[in-house]
Symmetry: C2
């Protein structure tokens, strides 16, 4: 058989989201015309970007459990709900970090701060932006739920899938909390940074979506364990690649200014390894510059070089390669339906590649 | 029959919440011991306060549709979930308003800012408090959902009730947005202020919880209409009483400093009526003082007197009395089971009384 085109699934997920969000916008408009910017901003945020990774893993989790492509219409709507959870998490994350941009566009709280200015409202534009973005994130979170529950997947299948869906939501919030805590602590070990990455990324992006898909179809505990054995290492590898891109990535590909993670002072596995293994002058240099929001291009370059010299960059590449190998190997036991196993292998390889 | 004791239902709702939140705290502890303050803060917030109004209306909505007290154990758990929606909304509301206190205690974001200070963390305590409170509010919201879905009420009953539950969540967020917008606008008419109150209070606190309860049992559209005819005016009367208490209430009863609503510049129906009907010198006085966070006791007293002189206070009392009468009259048609109708009459009367 020919390999399925991932763009087709992305488009189908996008279409399901567009249809659902159009209904929600109508619901808001019926309450008040003043809510038009709310519906519009959530639609723009969800429909104009995003790799739809979580719906993809959930979809292939369903296929891997034996779901047949000819029966997949309802499942596409159910798994698309994961993209709304993610939208809510990102909108709130940007408020929490005071990030000005997301995917190269103004963050939602910045959009509403700007609306405050152009409409001549009173009070603080940034306070207004923050308050409204909290509400928009809340709406995306509760709508996710509504989309999952209202998908025409049979209620007992949704009920089964909720075990993974609920765990996923608690885990991502918990992982985010641990991340916020780590950012406020003077030093974080690589082990600790990896633990945060496991919850806020690996389980949230890969393992739990696969479980949601498997449970939507109905599957054995053995398959769930298989999905964990694939999903956790592969998801960690994703995050480790993301950490490398945040420091060494090409801004035209990442959509974020070069060195942004360094200016934000993110306590990633990469940075923790550099601090654990660098020589004392490099460690001093990293400790003194990391988290300085005003780092210029030259300082960013010096930081990058110091991290490189410590061997941390090479160590992270090794961690990625090992996790990718381990995760993909877990698929080769026959529990996962072969076409799905192939797609999951490709997804893992692409998303952890150097130029993702 | 003897009238049921509302304290008994409050305790049963509290016990259901305590059991559910103990499990969630264990789930967090299994992820990391660092999450202990998260579980603790949500438990303290939910278990140490709150009138449990929304669960009470949902419970009596179920009884009013014919639910029998001897079958109510599972329903108590399902309706208790509404208290978690409310906890999430309040935790976020306090971040949005930068309110320092809630129910006489430190707001969640203040608690975590304090934790930041006592644990010697780096960065901004208030930024840390805000970020973590956003996550705690998110957790409360998603846990609400989980509690409703996992109550042992049959899945088809939950699915029916979701129609009202989902509408309730969208409406309260929409109402909150309209309120934030109104606070940032130079002037708001009484009509507009009442529209905001309808969504953020009346439908959210009374009408939709009654619908959730009715639908958990299964009920006719006629009963849902009856609940709306009671719930919207009574819920508006609640909010109008709250507006009066925010200006004229005894701080020892309201748990908020005297005049706090005036310092915050809340654009309530009361204030809108004062601006619409006051004489020009009082209107100038109100417009110049309202929203000044540094108002002293003397200025608060002058503002109160000006609002009183405008006739707004008396007008709001009239609006409350008329809505209470209208709402209670809607119960007297035989659709609502008589014992429930009696309790709903009592609830409406108590919660709109002058010294609530």
């Amino acid at each position: 058989m020919t390999a399925p085109d991932p763009a087709v699934l992305r488009e189908r997920v996008g279409a399901a989201l567009a249809a659902f969000l159009a209904e929600r916008s109508d619901e808001l408009a019926a309450i008040s015309p003043d809510l038009a910017p709310v519906g519009q901003a959530i639609r723009d945020f969800v429909l104009n970007g995003g790799k739809r990774l979580r719906p993809a893993f959930a979809y292939w989790g369903w296929r891997g459990a034996g779901g047949r492509p000819e029966d997949d219409a309802r499942v596409v709507t159910a798994v698309a709900a994961l993209e709304l959870v993610h939208a809510g998490a990102l909108i709130h994350d940007d408020v929490m970090d005071s990030s000005a941009t997301r995917r190269g566009e103004a963050a939602v709280h910045e959009l509403f701060a700007e609306l405050h200015r152009t409409q001549g409202l009173t009070g603080s534009p940034s306070g207004y932006g923050r308050a409204t973005a909290i509400l928009l994130g809340d709406l995306a979170l509760v709508w996710a739920d509504e989309m999952l529950a209202r998908s025409t997947v049979p209620p007992e299948a949704v009920q089964r899938a909720r075990n993974a869906y609920d765990a996923m939501r608690t885990e991502v919030m918990a992982g985010q909390y641990l991340d916020v805590l780590a950012q406020a602590q003077p030093a974080v070990s690589a082990e600790r940074a990896l633990h945060v990455a496991r919850f806020k990324s690996a389980k949230y992006t890969v393992e739990r979506p696969l479980h949601v898909g498997g449970l939507l179809h109905g599957c054995s505990d053995a398959l769930l364990a298989r999905y964990s054995a694939y999903g956790i290492p592969v998801g960690e590898a994703f995050q480790l690649r993301d950490d490398l891109l945040g420091v060494y990535g090409d801004p035209s590909l990442t959509g974020k200014p070069a060195g942004d993670d360094l200016r934000e002072g993110k306590k990633t596995v990469l940075v923790a390894l550099a601090l654990e293994h660098g020589d004392s002058s490099d460690v001093d240099l990293i400790a003194s510059m990391l988290g300085d929001p005003l780092l210029d291009a030259d300082s960013v370059e010096r930081l990058r070089a110091a991290i490189d010299r410590s061997g941390a960059r090479a160590r992270v590449e090794t961690l990625i390669a090992r996790r990718l190998e381990q995760g993909v190997a877990a698929l080769g036991t026959g529990d996962v339906e072969p076409a799905a196993a192939q797609v999951l292998t490709d997804l893992a390889t692409q998303a952890t590649a150097r130029h993702a």
